[in-house]
């Protein structure tokens, strides 16, 4: 691997066990754990490591040498907290921190993207669920990096019971997703000093973002290709599963109703390789976006994927928003069918949001944050 090996000055108590083991293995004849500078040089040369400047080194006494930990192969930006990992992008200076967050037993997997310079806005992204979550994942990662380059601090997270977060999939409900979003907002607020954190919801995530935004008056809200009725989302997912069954087993006699019945009986059902639980379905299927939208005046951006103009469905949604003076929309390049992640990557080219889309959202967000 090509990671630049470095020497870190760390607290003596932070010497990791493997470091001590490694040193012992390299030089079993040396008295452990006391080392002279020449011995450290010997160890370093065995590992092909670079050393601290010679002048500094020669001034170190034995006690000081003990505070030098050799940490080969770790990038210099590796965090010291075992629950988090940090990287700083060489080109953009954007700092990305992956961390398990929360005081609860089941913690959230959070990725925070912090701009190198001035933070002009903050955004929490509420992902969609099931197949959508995985399908959009890379797009959301790249979008977050592009936004961070433009001064927007972005918080992504995995709902409990999904992704890298703790928790069982059976505990994931609409309420738990809202709670997770609230925790993600709080986490971002701890990192950046901004009062108004914007929320962006993708597909089903739009319902979660809208519900959570009510608790944050004035905060901007971005709805990316929002699902307006959760029941239609699930109906589409059932249809996808029935198609898959037909493709696999021949002409399936199962109907959507029977699949729903199976869900309620077994408490879960297979949706194209993703687990839909009755807990999630029952808590979400009756949710309507227009009933969740905040009624206070606030900036709202509706982003549509594909098409030359806004669809009538989205136009109706815009009409249902309270007059805020900042309800806008943009049309982004279309993706492919949402439900089918191609098997084994066949034909599934990487879906990267264009720079322009990120720019549009960033500009809108900066304006919206200012007005809020």
């Amino acid at each position: 691997m090509s990671g630049e090996p470095t020497l870190h000055r760390v607290n003596r108590n932070e010497l990791s066990p493997w470091t001590a083991r490694l040193v012992n293995w390299l030089s079993p004849d040396l008295p452990h754990p006391l080392f002279r500078s020449s011995q450290v040089r010997h160890i370093a040369s065995r590992l092909n490591l670079s050393l601290l400047p010679a002048g500094l080194f020669s001034s170190l006494n034995t006690q000081a040498l003990l505070s030098v930990a050799i940490r080969p192969r770790l990038p210099s930006n590796q965090g010291t907290n075992p629950s988090e990992a940090i990287r700083v992008d060489d080109k953009t200076g954007v700092k990305e921190t992956f961390a398990f967050v929360g005081d609860r037993v089941d913690r959230l997997a959070c990725m925070t993207h912090i701009p190198a310079g001035e933070v002009r806005g903050g955004l929490v992204i509420c992902s969609s669920i099931l197949s959508d979550f995985q399908r959009n994942y890379r797009t959301e990662v790249v979008m977050s990096r592009l936004l961070a380059q433009r001064g927007i601090a972005v918080q992504r997270f995995h709902y409990r019971g999904t992704g890298n977060s703790d928790g069982s999939v059976h505990e994931t409900t609409f309420d738990s997703m809202q709670e997770d979003t609230a925790n993600a907002v709080e986490h971002l607020k701890e990192v950046i000093a901004l009062q108004h954190i914007a929320l962006m919801g993708t597909r089903m995530g739009a319902l979660v973002a809208a519900a959570e935004s009510v608790k944050h008056p004035g905060s901007p809200l971005i709805l990316l290709e929002p699902i307006q009725e959760a029941s239609t989302f699930f109906s589409g997912s059932f249809e996808a599963q029935l198609l898959v069954r037909m493709s696999r087993d021949g002409l399936s006699r199962m109907t959507e109703q029977e699949l729903l019945s199976e869900l309620q009986t077994k408490h879960f059902v297979d949706i194209v390789g993703f687990t839909l639980t009755s807990a999630l379905y029952n808590s979400t299927s009756q949710v309507l976006l227009d009933e969740l939208l905040p009624m206070d005046p606030r900036p709202v951006l509706l982003a549509q994927l594909g098409g030359s103009t806004l669809s009538s469905e989205h136009l109706d949604l815009l009409d249902s928003l309270p007059p805020s003076g900042m309800a806008e929309h943009i049309v982004l390049p279309a993706g492919e069918t949402w439900w089918f992640i191609e098997e084994g990557g066949e034909g599934a080219k990487e879906r990267r949001p264009p720079d322009e889309a990120a720019s549009e959202i960033a500009h809108w967000l900066v304006r919206a944050t200012g007005s809020a």
């Binding site: 590796q78 629950s83 398990f100 890379r138 992640i341 080219k349």
Partner: protein
């Protein structure tokens, strides 16, 4: 099918949580790879499992968070388990439109393995991957020591580009598939005609997409000679290797052709290379919970075999300096 399909593909009730996990970044070729290591919740058995997935944009947690569930479950069996995202995927950095099985991401696997071998309690690694991930791991295997085993489930055996697997098949192959497929045989049951029409449309679009006008000249119908060499080397090192498939996997057809040639000869002479069809269903892509459960069970069985076999230092290991 073996066992019962569970709700999340695999059961993770008795395993670890994020409190046993450490996220990390590893740098390779100017890209940063993201990964998470799950440490055992019982005394470690010295074996670390490196999980790798295909290129369908899969993040580190895998489809339906299968990797997360497995890592946490296996922590209760004493395994370290590492899940990570290849460059250009998940949280990792990089942009690449050129995915080709002749050029798998072996460097990524090596970087992650090197990082893993530095963790306390890790004495050897087992590579477990699907599709492109499996090929990347086998490519990297020659440089990994100590290596206790490799399981690819399933492993593509031809050198083709992404989205071009079907492109080199002749038209008669598609016709045969269509005429022998389940939906076609029951086409006259029109009670589900609407669904059937949708399915047909989907398959037609897929066919059009998968048979582009121009495909890579590197694509071949033959068993990859590169892969064969790598398997031979692993056999010489006495490293257990399992290439497992489902009967309905298209990849299995390629393997069967290979078994009639040099792969078959290798399998007959090697005591450690196993090529098997372990289920009647399709497992490629892990496209349903049943497939996920089957894969989880098969890999776990392999891991336990490896641990039983390697109470002593792994025989595939070379002497350390």
């Amino acid at each position: 099918m073996t066992g019962t399909t569970k709700s999340s593909g695999v059961a993770s009730d008795r395993g670890a949580t994020s409190r046993s996990e450490t996220p990390f970044w590893v740098r390779v070729d100017r890209e940063d790879l993201f990964g998470i290591v799950t440490t055992p919740t019982k005394p470690p058995n010295g074996t670390a499992v490196i999980l790798a997935q295909g290129v369908s944009g899969a993040p580190s947690f895998g489809r339906n968070r299968l990797w997360t569930d497995l890592a946490r479950k296996w922590a209760g069996l004493g395994f370290h388990t590492v899940r990570f995202a290849f460059r250009t995927m998940g949280e990792s950095t990089g942009v690449n439109e050129d995915y080709h099985l002749a050029r798998p991401f072996a460097a990524d696997v090596l970087a992650v393995v090197n990082w893993t071998l530095e963790q306390p309690g890790v004495e050897r690694v087992v590579l477990a991957g699907t599709c492109f991930g499996a090929r990347s791991q086998i490519e990297a295997a020659s440089a990994i020591d100590p290596l206790a085993g490799v399981i690819g489930i399933p492993t593509p055996v031809r050198d083709v580009g992404r989205g071009e697997h079907f492109a080199s098949y002749p038209l008669r192959w598609f016709l045969r598939r269509l005429l022998t497929s389940g939906p076609w045989k029951k086409v006259f049951r029109l009670r589900r005609w609407r669904q059937f029409r949708k399915l047909l449309t989907k398959k037609w679009r897929r066919y059009r997409r998968l048979t582009p006008a121009e495909v890579s000249a590197e694509n071949t119908l033959d068993f990859s000679s590169r892969l064969l060499g790598q398997l031979t080397e692993l056999s010489d090192r006495d490293v257990p290797v399992v290439l497992a498939y489902g009967r309905q996997d298209v990849l299995w057809e390629d393997v069967q052709r290979g078994l009639q040639g040099e792969l078959g000869a290798l399998c007959r002479h090697s005591e450690t290379i196993i090529v098997e069809q372990f289920t009647d269903t399709k497992i490629h892509g892990l496209i349903n919970l049943e497939a996920q459960q089957l894969v989880a069970d098969r890999v776990e069985r392999f891991l336990l075999d490896v641990v039983n076999r390697h109470g002593e230092p792994p025989p595939g290991s070379k002497q350390k300096p």
